[in-house]
Amino acid sequence: MSHEKNVCICRCEEVTEGEILRAIEEGARTVKGIKIRTQATMGLCQGRTCRRLIVNILSKHVDINDISKLEIGIRVPVRTIKIKNFIYDEGKGYE
């Protein structure tokens, strides 16, 4: 894939391939495991760009065929939307 370890994988949280490999060395075996160690997938885009790259890196260490075992971290809301859209105000309705 890439040819240098300091290449950027998670563009939002600026996490490098080297940091992800270190997380795997420390025992991370799922996307969540990498997330809690590196913050990858936690930025504004919520992993839409890097999740696949992280799974590719993981594939050299774990069997990735079963998505349910990867704690891949897709959850509601799946779009970049504002929290205020969910706040209901008795007087004004939705903000």
Partner: protein, 104 residues
């Protein structure tokens, strides 16, 4: 670098322009186009600076997914400029890190 003439799409007939202000500099944009397109047309590709390493970023995915093109627009940070249309008088600022949000 506008594509004014195109062998398939013909001449660009869009005539309505709006004025936007980018980091204090006034420039013209085509009404309705995304902010990022207007900036590219004006030769601006550096849209924000990252929080940790202070690197410049620009339009990457161009369809509202990656959020790399986020800027401060009319005082609100983290606006995806590739899918937000320009408006007359819009104030656009290069975003540093996560940007500042003056709560009113």
């Amino acid at each position: 670098m506008r594509v004014n003439y195109h062998p398939i799409l013909g001449k660009d007939e869009r005539k309505k322009l709006v004025k936007i202000v980018v980091d204090g500099r006034e420039m013209m944009a085509v009404k309705g186009e995304p902010i990022a397109a207007a900036l590219l047309a004006n030769g601006i590709r550096k849209l924000r600076k990252t929080r940790k390493k202070g690197e410049y970023r620009g339009v990457f995915c161009g369809i509202g997914r990656c959020t790399d093109c986020a800027m401060i627009v009319d005082e609100i940070p983290n606006i995806r400029t590739c899918i937000t249309p320009v408006k007359e008088g819009m104030q656009i600022i290069t975003q540093e890190g996560l940007g500042k949000w003056e709560r009113k």
